[in-house]
Symmetry: C2
Subunit: 333 residues, 2 copies
């Protein structure tokens, strides 16, 4: 049970006490970048003065925002700590005088060596050992940002966050049970699809992005795009026909009505059997404060969808979930 | 020939003189949202103090960033001025005390009525009358932002921008000639493809996004995603095989090496005949200052690609470029 921020987070924040921070840059690549979107959503909703930006690692280095400097905090994340663009971004940020926090599994990795402060987290599905999602990349990022908000703006939502994080893993376990038969049915239905889209908005967008690019595209070689739930109506919806395949995220944050609107359209113009809906209203979120449900639901969805990915992979004969052509197999790019 | 900012831009800025502006929110939907990405790129590169955010119209309303207030400038864009989410965003911004500028073709539209200041622009391919791209949505947005930068931060890049804008339309005309035969070849090759991806970074990202969602998906019913050129290597590249179809944007801004890297990968693992490369190094950019080439190249690419879209549509028998199923045809969503 968490009653205070993880020790490395508290240590990093204590070291920054007294520093003026005006900008937060959230920088990573791929799946690690995806968690930064709800991080920014949190700051947008809670911060009076802190500005925040989300960038891919190498975009950050080359774009080189002019505001990056001594009043900037740059939070980076790489699971192995070896992602070269993210390591490069950390070095670049320090050269510009910014404070850097690196989130990684490996405290001896290049990212860990490149940053001012190392914050550890845990990852499911990498070691095979069950983790508490409170200590996942999402959970740790929220703790960093809530701690920062308390320190810089005297707005203390840390107790509510910690109480909610304590109730997250049980909610995930219950979601797995709840979704099991639906995932079986959709794995059978979707097994031969060449294109599967995801839709989401707000705090859910990152999880839908990660499922599209890191799971469907990377691991299953299925074409995809994470379509923003309102942008959907400004172009993408024209590809919809009865046979289109969608995974529709419907969360608990302030943008929920955008996601509902997309689902309603899909239920009208696409066979409902082709729309896998994850609606957080149907989840048991017992103990998670209403204020944090929107932020924690994407963790539940993403963890649940891993099971769906395994089921889908098992039905597809051509590609298994660990089948990659390029990543970590070729080096000449 | 432009020697000063368009009169409605100068009028809007004059009315704002003396106001403290700390945040710029760039808000629109779909194709109009796409121009906001290079707008933010410009501010990131040039602004010492101005923070900027890019949001879809309804995401902006529901997310309701806490920093939105009297020190905010919200720039909105809707071609017809009737996009309901963007009109809603303008009303929301004014209720929060922000200053609003609405870019639209129609000065009597709902968006025009909802904002403090109306800025007109011109659009190609809507009236059939040739326009000067300097007065397009992109050109006008850059003028607003450069004027704002001069007024708020005393950093005057307006003369360089205007000189460069004066040389834009000739560069576009030359690009059309240069690309014609390549587009013929790729229209024949791509005519039956069910998935065509675009890749870009930096100031080009918006144009690639717009081509993916508003042209390929909306008008041609071809599956797509605008893949960020570095994010490509963190998942999406696993869908690449010899037969994958890509449009690769390579511009002149600071992120160019990201786009080159993606092209190099595609040329290695995908048949070169399936990779349509637009490389700005091969364009005649005579008279466009080096500092603005990165910002103006996406206009050239996007204008050029319209011709490609028409050629592709002509080769595809099922769907014409004006063939839409839902947009402006159904109203119950």
């Amino acid at each position: 049970m968490k009653t205070e921020l993880n020790v490395d987070i508290a240590t990093a924040l204590a070291a920054m006490a007294g520093k003026t921070i005006t900008n937060v840059f959230l920088v990573a690549c791929g799946g690690s970048l995806s968690i930064m979107h709800p991080g920014k959503y949190f700051l947008d909703r809670y911060a009076d003065t802190l500005n925040s930006d989300v960038y891919n690692g190498d975009e950050f280095v080359t774009r080189d925002p002019r505001r990056l400097g001594a009043e900037s905090l740059v939070i980076l994340c790489s699971q192995t700590g070896t992602t070269k663009e993210t390591v490069g971004a950390a070095k670049h940020a320090r050269e510009r005088g910014a404070t850097t926090i690196g989130m990684t599994l490996d405290p001896k990795s290049p990212l860990a060596e490149a940053v001012d402060h190392i914050v550890a987290y845990q990852a499911p599905y990498t070691t095979g050992i069950p983790i508490d999602a409170a200590d996942s990349n999402y959970g740790v990022l929220y703790m960093i940002l809530a701690g920062l908000l308390k320190q810089v703006e005297k707005n203390d939502v840390v107790p509510s966050l910690l109480k909610s994080l304590n109730c997250l893993q049980p909610a995930i376990e219950k979601a797995h049970v709840q979704y099991a038969s639906m995932f079986d049915a959709f794995a059978e239905r979707f097994k031969d699809r060449s294109v599967i889209y995801t839709t989401a908005s707000g705090a859910n967008y990152g999880a839908s992005y990660s499922f599209s690019i890191c799971v469907l595209m990377e691991m299953l070689w299925i074409n995809s795009q994470a379509i923003h739930a309102d942008e959907f109506f400004h172009g993408p919806f024209e590809v919809v026909d009865q046979n289109a395949s969608f995974i529709s995220f419907i969360g608990m944050d302030e943008t929920r009505r955008l996601e509902e609107r997309t689902r309603d359209f899909l239920f009208t113009y696409c066979d409902e059997k082709n729309v896998l809906v994850l609606d957080a209203k149907n989840l048991d979120l017992d103990g998670i404060d209403a204020a944090f449900q929107g932020y924690l639901v994407p963790l539940i969805f993403f963890d649940a969808l891993w099971k769906f990915a395994y089921k889908l992979a098992a039905k597809r004969e051509t590609v298994m979930l660990d089948g990659r052509r390029y990543m970590k197999k070729i080096t000449n790019y």
